[in-house]
Symmetry: C2
């Protein structure tokens, strides 16, 4: 096979180092994995039952491609009550997880040559989606502002790139990989520069229900005509493998993305949509049990990582701790992750996967035992490998 037959934009997409690394280390029977962003909880029983009922009732036919009307109506209400979203059922398309929502939004909004801002570190899906569609990316390093994107940094990126047609921004709040969650003020501050430059925002709010001691806000409140929200049930209802997401946006945009969606997947699985109706109507509190557990684990991990000598910016949401590797280790992020996997049987992701080689990401969507083992191993790594004073 000749690779010059392949679309060069696709050749340019790097395979996901995260999934490959996770797959690779899974071969170690002793490995304790804090890699993927996967709840270690089961799908709530009432939602499982709804899916089983839909199977038994033979709801196996094509749903209307936007998603069942009942589901979109229930989702409109659910997210209005949760976060103040202001969308009606005809401003929602049901997608195959948040991934399809992001991919479709990028395909609908931008055309080859357009540039999109990515606050860095960033979840690698965005990077790939940008490359696949022949777009350019403008990375903004957020490490100096506690991983929060500031309006000054957006303006600077625009000023620094006069030759680029910057038309978009992808923001993740609460954030993956850093765990930071934006305050109302931090989001509102971004609105003027985005309005003035007519920059569309793809706002990935998949971790919206997982905040700790602070509320989740959405840019769409102040920027409704330029915001596309991505959300779904993967994290709030521990339904990662079931693949159920949503895209919310202005009506004119939604009519267009619905076509992209239809001609990309037709629709998500019918029985999963019935399960999602149950989640939207009766699963308003499902996340709370998990959220409380995650909060305890977060506190445990943050405390231990700081004790081990890693710098950690306060993670107000999601289920990640993003920790700066101590200088005394003299390790870049791949060396640190590979050493931990090989010599200590602990799997976590290098910051390099997110565009930042100075840190590692720990997913605390894992059991208490796994987290304890990981903290012990990381402290041992620091004790074993630190070289103090030569740098």
């Amino acid at each position: 096979m000749e690779l010059n037959d392949i679309n060069p934009n696709v050749l340019n997409v790097k395979p996901s180092s995260m999934r490959e690394f996770d797959h690779e280390i899974s071969a170690d029977p002793q490995i304790v994995k804090l890699t993927l962003g996967e709840p270690n909880f089961d799908v709530p029983a009432h939602i499982k039952q709804a899916a089983i009922d839909a199977i038994n009732d033979n709801y196996s036919h094509y749903p209307y491609f936007w998603g069942y009307a009942e589901l979109r109506e229930a989702a409109a209400k659910y997210y209005q009550e949760k976060f103040g979203y202001h969308y009606t059922a005809d401003q929602i398309v049901v997608t195959v997880g948040a991934t399809e929502a992001v991919a479709d939004a990028v395909a609908t909004l931008f055309q080859p040559g357009d540039a999109v801002i990515l606050p860095s570190p960033a979840y690698p899906l965005y990077d790939a989606s940008i490359a696949m569609h022949g777009l350019k990316q403008v990375r903004i390093d957020t490490s100096k502002t506690d991983y929060i994107l500031t309006p000054e940094a957006v303006q600077q990126a625009i000023d620094d790139n006069p030759g680029l047609n910057i038309r978009g921004l992808i923001i993740t709040d609460p954030n993956n990989p850093t765990g930071v969650a934006y305050t109302e003020e931090q989001l509102k501050a971004l609105v003027p520069v985005l309005k003035e430059n007519r920059i569309w925002v793809i706002s990935d709010e998949i971790y919206g229900e997982l905040t700790y001691g602070q509320k989740h806000y959405t840019l769409s409140t102040w920027l409704p005509d330029q915001t596309v929200i991505v959300n779904g049930l993967s994290k709030s209802h521990a339904m990662t493998g079931w693949r159920l997401g949503y895209v919310f946006g202005p009506k004119g945009f939604i009519d267009e993305i619905a076509k992209v969606h239809q001609f990309t997947v037709t629709t998500p699985t019918s029985t999963v949509q019935y399960a999602a109706i149950e989640a939207m109507k009766h699963g308003q509190n499902d996340a709370e049990v998990m959220r409380k557990q995650y909060e305890k684990r977060r506190d445990f991990v943050v405390k231990n990582m700081r004790e081990a000598g890693f710098d950690v910016v306060h993670p107000g949401g999601a289920f990640y701790v993003y920790a700066k590797i101590p200088a005394s280790l003299h390790m870049d992020s791949w060396t640190c992750a590979r050493t931990l996997a090989k010599d200590y049987h602990i799997g976590l992701f290098p910051g390099a996967s997110f565009g930042d080689d100075a840190s590692i990401r720990i997913s605390y969507a894992a059991s208490d035992e796994a987290l304890k083992a990981a903290m012990t191993a990381i402290k041992k790594l620091v004790a074993d490998k630190s070289v103090v004073g030569d740098k």
Copy 2:
């Protein structure tokens, strides 16, 4: 919202007239629908049970993005035995139905400006996928050759379009909408012109198990390095709404499409993949019950349509009868479909949806009662509306 913010390739995609028309006529409580290509059978019980078991066993986590290894291995074996496919598990990616397989294949193989041949009439998904990716299409009218694409017609299309970079062909066999199924000779005849011009074939074989009195062949047998096969369980196992498809191809291509797939949907639903493992391992004969029923219905519809004065080319597969509207009706395909829906409460699709205004498509994946009612209504339409002698 300003539509000039939207990717012009997306604006150029026409909404699916089929789904919209189907949605529209569904408002009529009396309507008898022979529109969508949807088995009126239920998912086989053993497959439903496998999905229920997977739900109860909490298989709700991310599958490896290529699809479970066990599923790809089982699929390799299943299709090898069924149709002589020659693919190993690492040449298969599991997709969200055949739709995602087609969309990903188009995205992986072609780049904006490339041209793709579409034998016409054609399933509208292809048309949309081509437009969405900024490709050009070359339609070849197959109505003069009993809806079979010939090598002469391919050569003619190449000669007629010296300015186009023709890099692909999308073929559907057995065909939607015409129901024709290619013989071994008809497929083999296409190989030299495709090889010589290095034209990649996306071979949509989703109806492969539904042939009547003839065997299903695959172009990949003779053109392995330039063929991408699309298949899945929607038709063979009546799993349309469950969304489970496959793409098969040369290893180098599959490695690239796997990235597109991952960054478009991550993976299809985990529990559906477990159901598919059951279908691949123990559902080899599931299609046969349906196939026998479809064959009877096909014979019934073909006979009645011919009696009503419609020309029908022998449909050797799928579950469609494609019938040329009698001249005496003086109706284009939309007029015919709309009149039948409005005045006779029979829903079927106009040929115009497939790029041919002279015919209508009847899906006989419907109950015997529905088919009887439709045949009676169509004969009544001809009796009521024929104007003989003035043309």
